[in-house]
């Protein structure tokens, strides 16, 4: 399947025949995908279609049974998660996983971990490198908190934040790892329309910062409004890909979602 | 966490610490005219049973001394608990040395506690008599050039080499056994006895089929005993105390082992029969000196002990009579020298005391020269240990 949206330089991400089998169950079966820099691509499909599994294999949570993932031309399948993150892929989670007993600011500062170098010595001896790096980490974290509009909640414990804010804090933490590609796992789940609108606007601003966005989304209004391209998964197989309008008219997609009319 | 109630909390802590100091002050100030005999024993924890026994014997000896009005001042027992843990023993030692009213220390129980504590008592010049620690280092460490303080450590119980040697001699020549199995409880006391027995028995030409350790607190030794039974020993030597000795005897009989058990004075207590029941019948136990029950001067010790401590769980324990003897020796020396510690130590060095263990005198290191060992045979019927030739 040639990618429709190509043309902006070499593809950022190339996924070839990616599969993930759990014993007999083929959670993911031979999926291909290409992403280029600056795109917003949505992955849709009924529950259990393998969307989260797909992201889990890409971020090293599962090793993947076969197939290749090339990120910036480098094979990343099977790498430990923190190596994948260091190479520039970041993600959020379907059910929010924040460091609940740390403050919002500290959550984002943790995101800076793979972009900083201080070991034991600098903090123990309070070397200038320590103060300087801490200042940079804190500044970057405050900047990102401001970016997602949570700066005033910086000192609140993550677990005390309202639901919508926790979602945005998780995105801020993911952005703190300076990703080239950010994967959002159902970011608008459980949000009212006003919050959805704010989130869509945030995703656009993320893309404008030069970060490619790949998201799982169920709310078609959000998918149609924001996606450059849409990929549809069903039972672990990619059944359609293309512009949002084309995909919604594709019979196989309708059948997967709404089922066949019984003739 | 509002900082206000944390401050209240901090105040509470400092208050508690201050009251501790005040309490300590009051505890030490009273009773300037009494002379205290400190007892440093494991009064709680796994060795609590044995420690409480020695404490009862010491309290009895001091009570008898007070009644006899032989001293111009009243004598008082100050019991402290080291829980058989070397760290607590050092705390106890420091607590005793900072109490000027203490003239002598009866203690500690296990060698692991006695050795470090002895260094502290020596530095403070307080004499220490141990009724139960048999590790040679307890007194041997005083010969070490780095030893600070006087030679103030004494011991009324013989080191394990004496008993081990005698038992080996007895088993080889009197009982005529040539093949023995040896078991010990992996403690300084038990392993020391077992190693001495094995060394001497092999020197005499006997063969030791097996040499195994068990852990204190374990209860099931059937696996080990089954293996020992298969090696066909003529007797089984056990280094350790009555709890494990009793279990080995009981489970040995249950497995059809008929050969006799041989052990040391750590197993000699009526409670052995509670643990082993009839299985203890016919076991040989070496003990220091002449068995208390058969010594003219000691007749009343048993009677008084039973009369004074009749409650449940107050039976005579293996080292009680050593505790009693150590206290009487200390009081004897105290009569001559008075409560001054230096004079008391010198008096103790010249001790020549006829008591439960026969005549006790100390060598330069402070070890008892009373090397009389008697072999006894346990009789289940009247829960006693009559001597046997």
């Amino acid at each position: 399947m040639k990618t429709a949206g190509g043309g902006k330089g070499a593809p950022l991400l190339e996924v070839r025949q990616l599969s993930q089998h759990f014993g007999g169950l083929k959670a993911l079966d031979g999926v291909d995908l290409d992403l280029s820099q600056g795109e917003i691509v949505s992955v849709i499909g009924p529950n259990g279609a393998g969307k989260t599994t797909f992201f889990n294999v890409m971020t090293g949570v599962y090793p993947g049974t076969e197939g290749a993932i090339l990120f910036n031309g480098e094979a990343v399948r099977g790498l430990p998660s923190h190596e994948v993150i260091r190479r520039g892929i970041a993600r959020t989670f379907q059910n929010i996983r924040l460091f609940s007993n740390m403050t919002a600011l500290e959550n984002v500062m943790v995101g800076r971990h793979c972009r900083t170098r201080n070991g034991l010595l600098a903090p123990l001896l309070r070397l200038p490198a320590y103060y300087e790096e801490e200042r940079r980490i804190e500044a970057a974290a405050k900047d990102l908190l401001g970016f997602v509009g949570l700066l005033s909640f910086g000192n609140h414990l993550a677990k005390n934040l309202p639901y919508g804010d926790q979602r945005r804090l998780e995105i801020a933490r993911a952005l703190a790892t300076e990703p080239k590609l950010i994967i959002l796992d159902e970011p608008t789940a459980g949000m009212n329309p006003a919050e959805c609108e704010r989130l869509v606007e945030l995703i656009r601003r993320i893309r404008d910062r030069g970060v490619t966005v790949l998201l799982i989304e169920h709310q078609m209004r959000v998918v149609m409004g924001i996606s450059d391209r849409v990929v549809v998964l069903d039972y672990g197989v990619k059944i359609a890909e293309g512009k949002p309008l084309e995909v919604t008219k594709n019979p196989r997609v309708i059948e997967a979602y709404l089922g066949k009319e019984c003739d | 966490m509002k900082s206000l109630n944390r401050t209240k909390f901090l105040l509470a802590c400092t208050l508690a610490a201050a009251s501790a100091l005040a309490g300590a002050w009051s505890a030490l100030a009273q009773g300037a005219k009494t002379v205290r005999i400190a007892v440093a024993m494991p009064l709680t924890g796994d060795m609590g049973t044995e420690g409480q026994g020695v404490r009862r014997a010491v309290e009895m000896a001091v009570a008898e001394a007070n009644q006899s009005k032989a001293f111009p001042y009243t004598l008082e027992v100050k019991a402290l608990d080291d829980r058989a843990d070397p760290r607590e023993a050092v705390n106890v030692a420091n607590l005793i040395t900072s109490d000027p009213g203490v003239a002598v220390v009866i203690g500690h129980y296990n060698s692991g506690c006695s050795i470090p504590a002895a260094k502290i008592y020596a530095r403070a010049g307080i004499p220490m008599i141990t009724p139960a620690s048999t590790n040679p280092d307890v007194t041997g460490q005083q010969l070490n050039p780095k030893w600070t303080g006087k030679k103030s450590v004494f011991r009324v119980v013989p080191t394990d080499d004496v008993q081990g040697e005698y038992a080996a001699q007895y088993v080889y020549s009197k009982l005529g056994y040539r093949k023995m199995s040896v078991v010990h409880d992996k403690t300084a006391y038990g392993q020391g006895l077992a190693e001495q027995f094995k060394k001497n028995f092999e020197k005499l030409g006997g063969k030791v089929n097996s040499f195994d350790g068990i852990s204190i607190g374990d209860k099931d030794f059937k696996a080990l005993l089954t293996r020992i039974k298969s090696t066909g020993p003529e007797g089984i030597y056990f280094g350790g105390v009555y709890t494990e000795a009793g279990l080995l005897m009981k489970q040995g009989r249950e497995l059809g082992i008929t050969v006799p058990f041989v052990s040391g004075d750590g197993a000699k207590t009526p409670t052995l029969f509670d643990v082993a029941g009839a299985a203890a019948e016919g076991s040989y136990l070496t003990i220091t000196g002449i068995p208390v029950e058969y010594l003219a001067t000691a007749k009343d010790f048993i009677a008084n002990y039973k009369k004074r401590y009749s409650g449940p769980g107050n039976e005579l324990k293996p080292f009680d009579h050593f505790g009693y003897e150590a206290t009487r020796i200390a009081l004897e020396a105290l009569k001559k020298s008075g409560p001054d510690r230096a004079k008391l130590i010198n008096a103790l060095h010249q001790t020549k005391y006829d008591g439960l263990l026969g005549t006790t005198t100390f060598d330069a290191k402070g070890d008892t020269l009373n090397k009389i060992i008697t072999m006894t045979k346990a009789s289940f019927k009247d829960r006693s240990f009559p001597p046997v030739k």
């Binding site: 989260t52 889990n56 949570v61 989670f93 059910n95 | 709680t44 924890g45 796994d46 609590g48 049973t49 409480q52 992996k186 097996s210 040499f211 195994d212 350790g213 068990i214 852990s215 607190g217 374990d218 209860k219 099931d220 030794f221 059937k222 696996a223 080990l224 089954t226 293996r227 298969s230 009555y242 709890t243 009793g246 279990l247 009981k250 249950e254 497995l255 059809g256 409670t271 029969f273 509670d274 643990v275 082993a276 029941g277 449940p312 769980g313 107050n314 039976e315 324990k317």
Partner: protein
């Protein structure tokens, strides 16, 4: 000789399993290591001794006496366990995960010292509820005490299995053990079920106490600590929280100890080292115990 060692191993294993069940039941529901369980075991044996001392008529020698002793000590230990849960653990249910652990350590110290101070400071001989006759099966010397011990342990385990699998209360306990909050939402009074679990756990501990006293002939205020540690190791070996796992772990640990002490010269010095090494080895292969189900982490 092998048969003899097997009998020794099965006896030891049956006692470990019975104690391990007490740990696993409580852990299954509250995900808490109940350090006081070893002392409840000791109290159970002293209840039987007390009954024998004060009312010997109730405990005639023979099966009747044994059953009465078992029932009384199971009741005593069970009630004690419920009281402990009510005052020492319930207030900490919503505290940090390790708070109940510390409370159970405190309770274990209090119980051990209480018996030391007010009951007896020394070993007490345990009444011979069953005549200790020796007879041999295929050359292995087996005592009636061992057989009774194994039989009662296995009987109690089967009883527990029936209770858990086939009764309404058992189903409620399994539900609570799976997810305490959701069980509460389904109308199960979780506090009552937890109290009941402690009752059953304590009763099993009490029974193990009696069998322990019967088999080894004497009991003491500190008899609980070492077997408690071993039984908890067995429970984890089998998969903590899993009832069949506790029984399996108990027998494996018992037989392993016996084989180590029985067949390797100086083995009894090293049997505990061997037992713990095998435990570490097994847990490396199966991080949640032999029968423990591997909870896949939902990302």
């Amino acid at each position: 000789m092998f048969l003899q060692q097997l009998v020794n191993g099965l006896t030891l294993g049956s006692i470990y399993s019975l104690i391990a069940l007490g740990y696993t039941l409580v852990y299954g529901i509250l995900v808490m290591i109940n350090f006081a369980h070893s002392e409840v075991l000791m109290v159970g044996s002293f209840v039987a001794l007390a009954v024998f001392r004060f009312a010997p008529a109730i405990l005639p020698q023979g099966p009747v006496g044994l059953i009465v002793a078992l029932v009384l000590s199971m009741a005593g230990a069970g009630v004690l366990n419920v009281v402990i849960e009510r005052f020492a653990y319930r207030p900490l249910r919503h505290a940090q995960k390790l708070a109940p652990l510390i409370s159970s350590i405190g309770v274990s110290i209090v119980l051990q010292n209480a018996v030391f101070l007010w009951v007896s400071t020394q070993s007490e001989s345990f009444p011979e509820l069953i005549a200790a006759t020796q007879f041999s099966i295929g050359g292995a010397g087996v005592s009636s005490l061992q057989l009774v011990c194994m039989a009662s342990a296995i009987g109690l385990m089967m009883g527990l299995h029936f209770f858990i699998e086939h009764t309404k209360v058992g189903k409620a306990m399994r539900a609570c053990s799976d997810d305490l909050e959701t069980a509460g939402l389904m109308g199960i009074d979780s506090s009552r079920i937890i109290a009941l679990t402690f009752l059953v756990g304590g009763a099993l501990g009490g029974a193990a106490g009696v069998l322990y006293g019967l088999n080894y002939g004497s009991i003491k205020y500190n008899l609980g600590f070492l077997p408690g540690v071993k039984a908890f190791t067995a429970a984890v070996l089998g998969g903590i929280g899993n009832i069949r796992g506790a029984v399996l772990g108990g027998f494996i640990l018992g037989i392993m100890e016996v084989m180590a002490a029985g067949y390797i010269p100086r083995g009894s010095d090293w049997k505990d080292v061997i037992a713990f090494s095998v435990l570490i080895f097994v847990l490396l292969l199966r991080p949640s115990g032999i029968l423990g189900e591997k909870i896949a982490e939902k990302v």
